[in-house]
Structures are given as C-alpha cells and as structure tokens.
C-alpha cells in the first residue's frame, strides 16, 4: 500500500500516458488489485487484467527503448511481468469463449487513454462495498478515482481514505443564542463539499424563528434574504446529526450507508442504488439526493477529497453532511465550524474528557431535537 502511494505520487500521468496506464488502473500487481479479490471471478475481469498486462508489455518495450529512467517504477512493472504468462493464458481463453467484446477497451483502434478510461470505469462499476474492503482495496479504488479524474479533466486531485481513529467519537454543539443567521456556514459547506451548484444543494439549513414562540419549525423561514439578525428572531441550524442509532442506516437495503467507528454516518456513493429509503427514514431532513448529474465548475472544485466525503458524486445517489470527514479525520474543524463568524458552532471529540465539546455538554443546558425518537443524535443545542 505504501509502495503504491509512493508510485502514485510520481504522477506522470499527464505527460506520459503509458507508464501510469496500468499502474493505478488496477492497483498494480495482480495480487494487490483490490477489486479482483473482492469480486467473484468474472470473464470480464479476466480480460481486463489480461489487457492491462498487454498494455504493460507495450509500455515495457517502449521503456526499454527510451532507457530505464525510473528505477522504482520499473521494478513494479517487473513484478507484473512475472505473472503475465498466466494473464496471457487467460486472455486466450476468454477470447476463445468469445466474450472479448464486453467493453470498448477491447478495441485495438481506441486510444490508450480511452482504453484506460474504459478499464477504470469497468473496475469501478464492479467493485465491492467500501465498508467491506480491505485496506489495499480501499487504496486501489481511491487510486482509480484519482487517475480517472486525471484522465478526464487533466487535473490532479488528492483523495484520501483515512479510517476512523480509535478513541475518537465526533460530536457537535450549536449555540442558539450566538447564531445570527449569516449563512457563512452554508456557503462554506457548499464550497468545501463540492455540492451541486445547479440544484443549489445545501446540507445545512438555518431556520429563522420568532422570539418567544418556541421552536416552531413549520413557521420558521429557512430561506430568508434580508439583513440579519432580524429584530425579534433567533436562528437555529440543522444538518445531518450523525445519530448514534441512525434510522437511515437500518433501512438501507444494500448497506451503502453506515456508522463509522468515530460516529460519522457516511455513504459509499458508488454502492448506493438510489432507492431513497434512507431519505424517508431520516427524521431530521439530513439527506440529499442527486436528482440530476451534480455539477461543480472546474475552478471551484475542492481537490482535497475523501472517499467517503466530498469527492464528486454522480447522479442518482444519496449524499449528506459527513462532518467534513476529509477535514475532521485529520484534526481540522468542519468547514461550517471554521466559517462561522459568531462561534456558534462547536465540534470535537466526545471521548476526550478535556475537549471543549465535553465541557459544553457538562456545563451547559443542552438538548437535542426529537430525542423521543431514540435516534441519539450527536448534535446538541444550547443557549448561553
């Protein structure tokens, strides 16, 4: 895995198409390729790996001609060469079976990049559920996604697959008396998490409520546009509460959404089938659906991504707030917390007895929404 990462960071994909072609396409050596191990054997796969090997061989010949410029790269290619024979056998066999025409990468005339794209798409289409992947498989799919983006957009992104740390349980507190309704959090969230600009998808809603009337969500306005804070009103933000007993996770028929060890409720966008049962099950309006293909202008794409977080989504899948998993797992605050100009948002580790979130929970009058449903949200509200 370390090797792969090192190899990947060479990042020669833009100048030299070939060398990288096999590399991130299929997680390097046939042993380490994640999706192969995850799937039951398929004819399509045999062809894919065989072709990949063919491509590598071509590359090898090229490379010998140019001279060995990249030692470590060559070594890895060499590893592949070792099991190329078996791969060729597979290729012959599958050609005999006549299943050779499964996808465009079979075409000899297609450009190498097109082939590689098709290869990546193929493997992405038939990869397993992220939750059940091994570390290698996770890294392999991340590499494929990065490479795929590189091929499509000629831009590099950084994608991580950081796992939950032990002794971390994320929690969030929201100070109702501090929030002034500026919506800087909403704005920051949209930018950070690459949300669809056309449908103006937003994870956070800020409800403007009248003083002295209690929480009347139905009378609150969550789409105001006037100078704030408005006289006689207070503001309350909602988003995914990352319930500890999340109803959305229970209902998903394919386990495409789950609760991570650090309490984040996440979605594998590639595993989601788009049935929207989770959306119906969420009592907090925490989930969003991509009704059409989400689009973010290239220059606005946040390139620091996490597999479970803000990577670019496709149409027909669910998405939601992840407490900015790409940030929070490396010690940063979520974008909304950072953007809030009033300090109404507090985020931290619930298991750390010295954390600020713990201090808030222990010293403030906190409450949660719809506690009677037994969902145990990890999102508390409090007042000064």
């Amino acid at each position: 895995m370390g090797d792969k990462k090192k190899w990947f960071q060479l990042d020669l994909g833009l100048n030299k198409k070939q060398p990288n072609a096999g590399t991130c396409g299929c997680g390097k050596t046939s042993g380490g390729c994640g999706s192969h191990a995850a799937e039951p054997p398929k004819t399509g796969h045999a062809i894919s790996s065989a072709e990949f090997d063919a491509a590598v061989e071509q590359e090898l010949t090229q490379e010998t001609m140019v001279g060995q410029t990249r030692k470590d790269g060559f070594q890895q290619v060499f590893d592949v060469k070792m099991d190329r024979r078996s791969a060729f056998r597979k290729l012959t066999a599958s050609l005999l079976v006549g299943a050779g025409a499964v996808h465009t990468s079979c075409s000899v005339t297609a450009g190498e990049e097109t082939k590689e794209k098709a290869q990546l798409d193929w493997e992405e289409q038939f990869k397993g559920n992220y939750k059940l992947m091994t570390e290698e498989e996770k890294q392999a799919t991340v590499d494929r996604l990065v490479r795929s983006y590189q091929l499509r957009k000629k831009e590099n992104i950084k994608m991580t697959a950081t796992d939950a740390s032990k002794d971390v349980l994320f929690g969030y507190a929201f100070n109702i008396s501090k929030c002034q309704g500026y919506m800087d959090c909403v704005s920051a969230c949209v930018k950070e998490n690459n949300q669809d600009r056309n449908s103006e998808m937003q994870y956070i809603r800020i409800h403007e409520m009248k003083d002295g009337e209690g929480f009347k969500f139905n009378e609150a306005d969550d789409n105001y546009y006037h100078e704030v804070p408005a006289e006689g009103h207070f503001y309350m933000g909602t988003q995914c509460f990352h319930c500890d007993n999340p109803p959305c996770v229970e209902v998903c028929p394919v386990e495409a959404t789950w609760r991570e060890e650090d309490g984040l409720v996440v979605i594998d966008y590639d595993w989601c089938i788009g049935c929207r049962y989770c959306m119906a099950a969420c009592p907090y309006d925490g989930r969003r659906f991509n009704w059409s293909k989400p689009e973010v202008p290239e220059e606005e794409v946040n390139k620091n991504q996490h597999y479970l977080g803000n990577r670019l989504r496709k149409k027909g899948v669910m998405e939601k707030c992840t407490f900015c998993v790409q940030r929070s797992r490396s010690g940063k605050d979520p974008a909304c917390v950072e953007a809030c100009p009033t300090g109404a948002r507090i985020f931290g580790n619930l298991l750390d007895p010295d954390s600020t979130i713990r201090w808030v929970l222990e010293n403030k009058q906190v409450f949660r929404l719809k506690e009677d449903l037994g969902t145990e949200p990890k999102f508390w509200y409090f007042m000064d």
Partner: protein, 414 residues
C-alpha cells in the same frame, strides 16, 4: 426426457397461440405495445437526465412510482383469496378463476418490480441487491425483506399455475399432493408480502403519518377489496371475449369477498379519521394536508375527495344483496372501488407521508408527464403480460392446446 420435450412443445405451442387471435386481440396488443414504447422512451429520458425529470424532490422523495408499487403489491396479494378455497377447500367454483387470479398476481408482481426499478436512482448498480454478489442488509432493512418476499411470491405464482397447466397440457390431472402445499405456502406468503410492504412504511419513526399500527391491517383489507374487484372485472372481460366459461356463481362468490373486505376497510378508515381529527396533534398534519390542505396547499384534495365518496358508494351498494347480484351494478361498483383504493393507497398514502417535511416545510408534488407515461407504460406491460398468460391458460384449460404425442406415457409418469 419426455417431460422436457413436452415442455418445449408447450412453450412453442403457447408462443404460437398468443401470436394469433382475433382482430380485437391484435388491436389490443398493438395498443399496449405502443404505450409500452412511449413509456420506454420516457424512461430513457429519465435514465439520461436523472430523476429530476420527475416531479419528485428532496421534500417528496417518493411519488407516483412507489404509489403504484404499493397498490400493486396489494393486487398481487389478493390472488390468494381465490387460491385458498379452490386448492385447499376444494371449492370447485373458483377453479377457473384461480388461474386468472394467479396470472394477475404474476402481472402485478412484474409491474411492482418494474416500478421499483423505475424509481431507482442507479438501475445499473441494482446487482448490489442480489444476495451473494452484492450486500444484502437482510434482517434490518424492510426493503431487503420486500425484495425477498416479492421475488419468492413471484416464483410461487409462476410455478404453481405452470405445473397445473403443464399437466393439463399433457392431458393429465394435476396432482394435488404437489400443488396443495405450494398453494398453502402462497396463501401465507401473500399475507407476508403485504404486511412486509406495510412495514416498509410503518417502521419509519420519521413519518408519523405512516408510523401507525393500523397501516398493515388496512393494507390487507384494501388489498382484498381492490384485488378481487379487479379479478371480477377481468373475468367479466374474459367472459365476453373468449369462450372460457365462468359461472355466475363464481363471480358472486368473489363479489362477497370484495364486499366484506371493503366493509372492513371502511371501518378502519373511520377509525383512522377519528384518531387524526378527534384529538389532533402535530402528527395529524399530514392527514390535515390530505383531507383539507395545509397553508393553502391543496393539491391532493380533488383526489382524496374523489376516492372517499367512491369508496363509500361502492361499499354501500355492494352491501345490498340485490344490488350486488345485478352484474351491471357489481361491475360498476368494482370499478369505482378499484379506482378509489388506487387513489387512497397510492397517492393518498405515499405523498402525504412526506408533507409536511421533517421541519414542517411544505413542497407539493405533481407528477410530470414523463413520470405519468413511464407509469402508463408499466401498466401496459402488466396488461400485456397478463393477456399473454391468460390467453395461454385459457387455451390449455379449454383443451385447444394439447400435447399431440401419444398419451400412453401417462402411466409411466404417474
């Protein structure tokens, strides 16, 4: 070997049989095909653009497709009301009706599955739901249960009639030792599919309109009214357009089932209305929206106020023996009851569940034309499937389709 050959011959014969028929038959099939093609075209648009071409949105995230799905599960389940007396209690009256009923169940299930697929955001990754290859959130997700029970029910409802027809095709009697256990299973299973589908909604604490213990029983009652009502209409059509003889007694008996179920359904409706409006809490807002509209949003009023009077009218008319035994009145009642329950259990159940949203926001739902055409296309597909199944089974039952070979082999297989 002989069996395989006979089976092949049956498939060939039925294929020949369903492609030939009267002019009316051809016009009917062409009509269905055209609608199916339009539906497919609309579905291709939906595939291309995404579900944004439908009227659904983040507020109302299930619409016409899931409404029809829910209703059709009921229709499918209703076939058992005929199976039970025929196969198990040996009530000969239903014998002819039951094959039609099971054919209807198969068609309804095919439509159910089609509606579910049409509603999916990512139909290309539906293999994630196949146990073994995909990941199945089995005991936890009611949708996973639903997929299992629907497919299981489909399997049962294909195999039992297939077995019986196959035996008849060969000119033999179907052995009750084989099909009776299957029939009993299918009876239990039918209740299962409907309860599980009800649990799909009932289990959501987020939606108070659905999170209601009466939902399951009410599903059953309305299904056992609407399903047999449809069967009566279909039998009437078959009586008219084919030589297949269906006795008045059969239809009267089914009418009895419809009546009782419709009465029970009405009682439950009253109970539900009482609970929602006698002591309304904020959980009654969905019901308010459905029946009276909320904050000036009244999209469902015409629907529900069509459904309720029709429902009451049909139930009242059916309750009087004299009226019920007049077949013209009966067909009329069955038709309006079917429409009423389709509205009540489709639109009237699914859409208000989402309105108002978790934070009281109201976004109304109106299906788009694309959605409507896809829906019509799927209904046409159901009708298409049913017509083919019914035609074949009528052909076999009437003895028009028979295995030509020598019948001496009977002794050997017996």
């Amino acid at each position: 070997m002989e069996t395989v050959r006979a089976f092949r011959s049956m498939v060939k014969d039925s294929l020949g049989y369903i492609t030939h028929g009267s002019k009316t038959y051809h016009i009917w099939m062409i009509f269905l095909t055209v609608i199916m093609l339009i539906g497919m075209y609309c579905y291709s648009i939906q595939l291309d653009e995404g579900l944004s071409v439908t009227g659904m949105n983040d507020r109302v995230s299930w619409g016409l497709y899931i409404s029809n799905f829910t209703f059709l599960v009921g229709v499918a389940a209703a076939a058992v009301m005929l199976v039970m007396p025929t196969y198990v209690l040996k009530d000969i009256d239903f014998k002819q009706a039951v094959l039609i009923g099971e054919g209807l169940a198969v068609a309804a299930l095919v439509m159910c599955l089609a509606f579910v697929v049409a509603d999916m955001g990512g139909p290309s990754v539906l293999w994630h739901m196949i146990p073994g290859i995909g990941v199945f959130n089995f005991p936890n997700s009611m949708l996973a249960w639903d997929v299992i029970v629907l497919n299981g029910y489909l399997f049962i409802n294909i195999t039992i009639p297939l077995y019986i027809l196959f035996r008849h095709y060969q000119g033999k009697e179907a052995k009750s030792k084989i099909y009776v256990p299957g029939s009993i299973l299918s009876v239990l299973w039918a209740v299962g599919i409907h309860l599980v589908t009800a649990f799909l909604y009932e289990g959501l604490q987020a939606r108070p309109f659905w999170n209601n213990a009466l939902l399951g029983p009410r599903f059953l009652a309305s299904a056992f009214a609407a399903g047999p009502a449809l069967i009566i209409l279909v039998l009437a059509a078959i009586r008219k357009f084919s030589e297949f003889k269906i006795e008045n007694k059969t239809i009267s008996k089914i009418a009895m089932i419809v009546t009782v179920a419709a009465q029970i359904n009405l009682i439950m409706l009253v109970s539900e209305l009482f609970k929602e409006f006698y002591a309304p809490t904020h959980h009654s807002e969905s019901a308010y929206y459905l029946f009276f509209g909320l904050e000036g949003k009244t999209a469902l009023l015409p629907w529900i106020w069509t459904a309720i009077p029709l429902n009451i009218l049909a139930t009242v008319l059916l309750t009087f023996h004299k009226l019920r035994n007049n077949f013209k009145v009966l067909y009329f009642c069955c038709f309006i009851l079917f429409v009423a329950i389709w509205i009540e259990k489709g639109f009237g159940l699914i859409v208000p569940g989402f309105i108002p949203g978790p934070y009281g926001k109201i976004a109304e739902y109106t299906p788009t034309w694309i959605e409507i055409w896809v829906t019509l296309g799927i209904w046409a597909m159901g009708a298409f499937v049913f017509t083919m199944l019914a035609k074949t089974s009528i052909g076999i039952e009437l003895g028009k389709l028979r295995y030509k070979k020598k019948k001496v082999l009977e002794s050997e297989t017996a």
